[in-house]
């Protein structure tokens, strides 16, 4: 077991690919900033990638005190061996007390590899972070049993304490362009022969990048939309509101929309300003991914649908009758 007092500061891992940061890293700097202030320690952004010095600067603007940068051609695309290898070396050298990683597919691939290498604990796919008053440990909160049960997990005796946190749960903090901080470059390279997996092809199945997590307004269709065609009615409202269209898993299973648009436990977690659920029954696995929205509107034919329990405004009715009226009314308001 590690000597706990050797471990200091909070790290947020900023995931990059092809030189670009994934939004979740910047989101996590916001709650992590509050934790660091409460603990009176440094918040450090860790950036690994190719040509990513700009990303490190951006992380400082989003609230990090400083950044650690690992830059090299082997980090252009994610591989487990290169990224976990670099991370292990960094943690070994700097001994952070807490490491927070975005729970993307790559984050959840790298996180356990690193925590296992360091023989420490990793809390999976968290949706809330706090400091335990009594012990000063991070209290990580996460959904289990498909969103039916929330659990608070701690890692009392091992360091660093590590966790992956779901994208879309936290909003980005204010961006301060003038904020400065030190960027420490670490010359870590992983030999090609030590990278045991090779990316041979990347296939994009979704025409444009779907950015549900960043959307201010989401209009979601469920099985009640009835067909891929039926989504046109949602799209018309979305065009008017500059909103993004999402869907339930039933829709993905039916092949009407790709998985990238799915909201919920096994899809995206979102917290937009406005979430309009149309023909969605409100299964717990769906609600787990959208209950953090500021305002929830539900339109459903079935007055007993559980989606109404979480809605701020509900309409019992046919979505194909209500939505066009809403679109027209909003057009009028704006005219």
């Amino acid at each position: 077991m590690a000597n706990k007092t050797d471990y200091k500061n909070i790290w947020v891992y900023i995931e990059t690919e092809c030189g670009q940061a994934k939004p979740v890293g910047h989101e996590l700097l916001n709650p992590a900033r509050k934790l660091a202030d409460e603990k009176q320690c440094q918040l450090i952004a860790v950036v690994i990638g190719k040509d990513v010095e700009e990303v490190a600067k951006t992380a400082i603007s989003y609230g990090a005190d400083s950044a650690i940068l690992v830059d090299g051609p082997e980090y252009e695309y994610y591989t487990t061996d290169a990224f976990a290898g670099a991370m292990e070396q960094l943690i070994g050298k700097y001994k952070p007390e807490t490491v927070i990683i975005g729970a993307t597919n790559n984050g959840r691939d790298m996180g356990p590899r690193v925590s296992c290498n360091l023989k420490t604990g990793l809390t999976a796919d968290c949706t809330d972070l706090a400091i335990d008053e009594e012990t000063g440990n991070i209290a990580w909160t996460r959904p289990t049993f498909g969103g039916n049960l929330m659990a608070t997990i701690m890692c009392p005796d091992h360091r660093p304490q590590m966790g992956t946190v779901r994208p879309g749960v936290f909003k980005k903090g204010a961006f301060d362009e003038g904020k400065t901080g030190e960027i420490v470059k670490e010359d870590i390279h992983i030999a090609e022969s030590d990278i045991r997996t090779k990316l041979i092809e990347r296939v994009k199945e979704v025409a444009e990048a779907v950015n549900l997590e960043e959307a201010e307004i989401i209009i979601t269709g469920g099985r009640g939309v009835g067909s891929a065609e039926g989504f046109k009615t949602l799209q018309e409202l979305a065009d008017e509101l500059d909103a993004t269209v999402g869907c339930s898993r039933a829709v993905v299973d039916a092949g009407w929309m790709p998985h990238a648009y799915q909201v919920g436990q096994s899809g995206k977690t979102v917290a937009p300003k406005l979430y309009i659920a149309c023909g969605v029954s409100g299964a717990i696995q769906h609600v787990a991914g959208m209950s953090g929205s500021d305002y929830i509107v539900a339109i459903n034919k079935d007055e007993d649908a559980p989606i109404f329990d979480v809605a701020d405004f509900g309409i019992v009715g046919n979505l194909f009758e209500v939505l066009p009226v809403l679109t027209e009314q909003i057009k009028k308001q704006r005219a």
Partner: protein, 266 residues
């Protein structure tokens, strides 16, 4: 190709209900199933074996009851099954679970007199939901890993894996042995027949205990687990919102538009 598939017996989370009074999970009467993602891992494993020869062995860590899940696997293509069970293993977090399972890999290799070329896991268990056991096993065994697999094909001593990403997929290759965690497949797992069920029933499932694995007790069970579950609660997301029932669509749509405007949501 010799393949090991790790399977977990889980409660069917679709059937889980919350007790309205105590707000706790009602597990009584909830059927136990093989973790759905693990059934995909087994199916792709059995298909690779049918194509290339070799053996498919399934292991599960859990109580005696988990033998039921192993029997199900034997009825849909697994050749042999082992239960990993000991009171010393109870309360393990993912670090301890993956440590015990990787020690079991070596013990099973000795028992079977073979080496595994491929270790398959499901992407995640639908109860614990961490998705950490697979990558942690890979780390314990010092093997390459590919997570979120949508398909696995074998070619020239290598595997090619279709890996799920945000907006499509990656094709990734690696040498063997390797660990792969499976999300889904382009095909559904096979069903058991009466004949395969009978054969599975007759098959003996050996249990490997703490003494059979060369594990260090300090890294097993609750005591060997760095993470601790400090508390659980069932989320309450209910709101007391406006609900229009029996209002004609024209009127309802107009009221919604007005509500959005007065609350400055748009």
């Amino acid at each position: 190709m010799n393949i090991l598939v790790c399977i977990k017996q889980v409660p069917d989370t679709n059937e889980i209900k919350i007790d309205p009074v105590t707000h706790t999970l009602v597990r009584k009467g909830v059927p136990s199933i093989v973790n759905p993602f693990d059934t995909y891992a087994l199916e792709v494993g059995v298909r690779l074996k049918e194509q290339l020869g070799g053996k498919v062995v399934v292991i599960s860590m859990g109580p005696e009851q988990a033998k039921e899940a192993l029997k199900t696997c034997l009825s849909v293509g697994a050749d042999d099954a082992y239960l990993i069970s000991d009171r010393k293993f109870g309360g393990s977090d993912t670090l301890a679970t993956s440590y015990i399972l990787s020690s079991a890999v070596k013990a099973v290799e000795e028992k079977e007199g073979l080496k595994f070329d491929l270790i398959l896991c499901g992407k995640q268990a639908v109860d614990g939901d961490t998705a950490q056991v697979g990558p942690e096993m890979a780390e314990h065994l010092d093997l390459p890993q590919i997570t979120y697999a949508l398909d696995i094909v074998y070619e020239d001593d290598k595997i090619q894996v279709k890996r799920e990403c945000d907006d499509g997929y990656d094709m990734i290759t690696t040498t063997l042995p390797a660990v792969v965690t499976v999300v889904k497949l382009p095909y559904e797992p096979r069903y058991a027949t009466i004949r395969t069920k009978m054969a599975a029933k007759k098959k003996e499932i050996p249990t490997l205990t703490f003494d059979d694995l060369k594990t260090d007790e300090a890294y097993c069970g609750l005591g060997g687990s760095p993470t601790k579950v400090k508390g659980t609660y069932t989320p309450n997301r209910e709101k007391n919102g406006v609900k229009l029932n029996g209002v004609e669509a024209n009127d309802a749509g107009a009221q919604l538009a007005e509500w959005l405007q007065t609350n400055k949501i748009l």
